[in-house]
Subunit: 157 residues, 2 copies
């Protein structure tokens, strides 16, 4: 299946996905988060083939991330809205967006920006904190597999 490249896309999320791999469905979630509800609007924004978009939407509904509701304008259209589970992807999307903003755009390059409605200011940088509220980097973390601490080679600094 051919995939449109997001290399030069204005959206940091889209560009992050292009840089790492592909994850189209997250872009559907992203669009739903800014209020896109209709098949044709998703289709126009994402430039996906209708059958592909249809399959992705179906999977998101099946997995409880989106749900179908009757159109708000009283027509017979169905619209797609995020469930609570779908909305809970916000931190993932914001973290991914900020990564893209930091690493995949040059300083002066135009980009989509997500701001809070009240202040119209960009969001605070997403950080990982331990239970005591101290910021963590990769080297501060360790993986527990089931109940067993995993043996992995120590990283050489």
């Amino acid at each position: 299946m051919q995939r449109k490249s997001f290399h030069g896309n204005i959206c940091p999320v889209a560009r992050s996905l292009d840089s790492i791999g592909e994850w189209w469905s997250l872009l559907i979630v992203r669009d739903a988060m800014v209020g896109v509800r209709r098949f044709n609007d998703f289709q126009r924004r994402l430039g996906l083939a209708r059958n592909v978009l249809s399959a992705r939407l179906k999977k998101l509904v099946a997995n409880g991330i989106l749900e179908q509701v009757p159109a708000t304008d009283g027509t017979s259209y169905q619209e797609y809205v995020l469930t609570e589970k779908g909305n809970a992807l916000l931190p993932t999307l914001i973290a991914l967006r900020q990564w893209g903003e930091q690493y995949l755009f040059s300083e002066a390059e135009p980009r989509n920006t997500l701001v809070d409605k009240k202040h119209k200011k960009p969001l605070r940088k997403m950080q990982v904190y331990n239970a005591d509220g101290e910021t963590c980097t990769t080297s501060d973390l360790t993986l527990i597999v089931g109940s067993r601490q995993e043996e992995v080679e120590e990283k050489s600094a």
Copy 2:
């Protein structure tokens, strides 16, 4: 291309990807974050075909997320380590992991847990904050496209 399903996988990140779409390369980054460095170790953990893994690693190196370094044991092997850009994917991975933990596992189900080395306690829940440090949900945010605020339908609550 056939893809192994992560539906019942022990790792919340893997299961999140299965639920949303596919994004294999993020699993390579995830493994690199816990110290996996060698091709064969990635291969064994991910169960990817060697040619597919090879292509994914190559892309991650090309995109500056991983870099190749000589093996630490003095052999002629090459190892893969995360760059600063690669390590900066940590908030994305943690957010995705926590989402999977919350929505894709039952209470008693065994799972991989990422803890901080110092306290051996799970991390604080990732939250989105505005510039003033107030927590934000999807409905608090608006998208600025370039310099123009995007007109999207208002969500009905």
